[in-house]
Symmetry: C2
Subunit: 199 residues, 2 copies
């Protein structure tokens, strides 16, 4: 049976572990890297090593960061009375990139999905409650995906946060920019109708 | 403007250099790696470093290999009178994985494509001629893609090899396994008709 040289096979094995990359794509990526001058592979290795060494998790918001506490949690200019609860670090990055939010974040580390074995105790919910009890929070924004696990988590957190008498909000649901009414699904359109705003 | 932490941005930049990976996919892959335990990133870095250090090019066939000359060129059990000419290392891997070929290879490093600036002098054609002059070669198999640059290269090499009075063959063109006549393009079907074989 044909075998790739061991260093090539090892590298293919690493690429295959990434989401959406199958053995054929991995092979193509590895041969692409080999075709470049060796500098690129070494740079790539260095970037991975640096990321593994320098990235840590913020003890306050549980976001991935170079510092602990992270630059957002330790920034006195941000609004420390608002927490936006998101599922993952990349959701925080997405909201932060709008430039429209000045509060803090809390990264749950996922959403409730019993079918995948993700129960509330696997998420950073206790840590969120602890933050609310300790700090002076006036609003919790639930920045979760409007899908089944996201809605489940929103429901769970809304119930849990009722006793704290703080404002709990969620992201608006409606038509995304550039949407076409004709191709919008019924739920999106129903939400857009229900949450219509005066012009 | 929002900025990713520097180690994350550096890693995204590395992924974006790969073919078919845009900024969004790169971001997803990086956050996936961060979510795993750090071991995977370090392993990945190590695999890249090892590949950069241990892979070299065979001076005979120009294939990427751990050894120079490579395991195929230095294997006395292979048929040293046949050379299969391929464009890239991964084409060699594809042919080798059939297990049906026992000869040697010659990797051109591309195919003739004047529009992309790849002229015959940029490929390992002189090296191929040198091998033919030095070694006792009875057949050259042109294992190139049946597309425009591949066909151009086949035409060029066929003309060039005429003077050597050795057998020059090319891979058969016809229907691939599992094909559907209804959806086959005209050229493939015409080739399949022209090259039909007796059963």
């Amino acid at each position: 049976m044909f075998k790739f040289p061991q260093p090539i096979q090892n590298l293919i094995n690493q690429f295959v572990k990434l989401p959406g990359i199958g053995p054929k794509t991995a092979e193509r990526l590895v041969y692409f890297l080999i075709k470049q001058n060796n500098g690129q592979m070494t740079e790539f290795a260095e970037a991975l090593k640096q990321a593994a060494q320098n990235l840590t998790f913020c003890a306050v918001c549980h976001n991935v960061s170079e510092k602990n506490p992270c630059l957002i949690c330790s920034n006195p200019n941000r609004d420390h009375s608002t927490i936006c609860v998101v599922a993952e670090s990349h959701d925080q990055a997405a909201i932060e990139s709008t430039g429209d939010y000045q509060g803090l974040y809390h990264i749950l580390g996922g959403t409730i999905s019993p079918i995948e074995g993700i129960t509330p105790d696997k998420l950073k919910i206790d840590e969120l409650i602890a933050r609310i009890q300790k700090e002076k929070i006036s609003e919790i924004i639930l920045g979760l995906n409007p899908d089944l696990p996201g809605e489940t988590t929103i429901l769970y957190l809304t119930n849990l946060l009722k006793s704290f008498k703080i404002k709990v909000t969620r992201l608006a649901r409606g038509l995304p920019m550039g949407a076409d009414l004709e191709y919008s699904d019924e739920v999106t359109l129903a939400n857009a109708l229900k949450n219509r705003s005066q012009v």
